[in-house]
């Protein structure tokens, strides 16, 4: 019963996440970053507009 309830929720969340991702050529949905190291108080992506932005996802392990 619990699984039956969860599956639609997981699918809905997955679908929403997929919709929120930009494809090349599209506007990237605005969102907030957590606190930055080396930051100047800008947290939202839109606060960087007017400058090109490189996002680099990496790992510490």
């Amino acid at each position: 019963m619990r699984i039956r309830t969860l599956i639609p929720l997981v699918l809905a969340a997955t679908s929403l996440a997929a919709q929120e991702r930009a494809a090349v050529g599209q506007q990237v949905p605005d969102f907030s970053f957590p606190q930055f190291l080396n930051g100047d108080g800008r947290q939202k992506l839109s606060e960087f507009y007017g400058q090109p932005i490189i996002i680099d996802k990496w790992g510490t392990r």
């Binding site: 080396n38 100047d40 108080g41 507009y49 007017g50 090109p52 490189i54 996002i55 996802k57 392990r61």
Partner: protein
Amino acid sequence: MPSAIRQNHELADKGLITIMVESQGADAKKLEGFLWQRFPDNDCFATTGCFVPIPESRGIPHGAVIGVDGKLLWAGNPIRDKAKIEELVKDQLKLVKKGWGDSGEARKVRAALYGRGNFAVAAAAVKAMDDGDEKSMLQKEVDTRYAISKAAIDNLIKQGFWLQAQAQAKSLLKGVGRHQKWAAEATELVGRFDTDSAKAEIAADKKLAKVIKNMRKGKLDKAPKALKKLISKIGQTSVGARASRTLAAIEG
């Protein structure tokens, strides 16, 4: 990662923003410690644990280039597509310098605003435009950029980056020229660095800058001793709090 740091060193002053997003679950303290140990010369924006709405990948490294207007220009493996990234960034930095948009007015406003940080010229160019949607949009851009630049000064002060805040305040004052409202606000901001407590913070930040300079070169072995000595002298300042955070990060 090292190539992104190097590129940021070369192009940040031309307008490039590089944002490192740690995506293997490190917390902020671990992230800071890791960066100091492995990439001490990193001066990119760095954060951890957030969803970035770019195309999904199976692993890392993974990245994206977002244009000056917020559109996604590329997403993929930054090592594989290094040349492509460099080409896109070069083209975007030309837009920062020359401005972009459908009309000459839009390009003029944006070149002044983003390329030169000249709020006075940007505001005057908007004022001279005919009323309409484009004028409203550009006015909003100018006002937003000014508000962000002003807020950054407060944020830098709160974090103990007094030298950077002072430089930004002076740059803002220069950029607003004789604009009636902004010139008064920017003059007041610059004046905030003339108080005794501000001067103490600035003096402390100059001392910390010397320690950080050596740390950026990878000389971390002597940093804890130097930071502890500094903290004993400037512990009560916001710069002292920043020095304590840095010490905690490198000591793990």
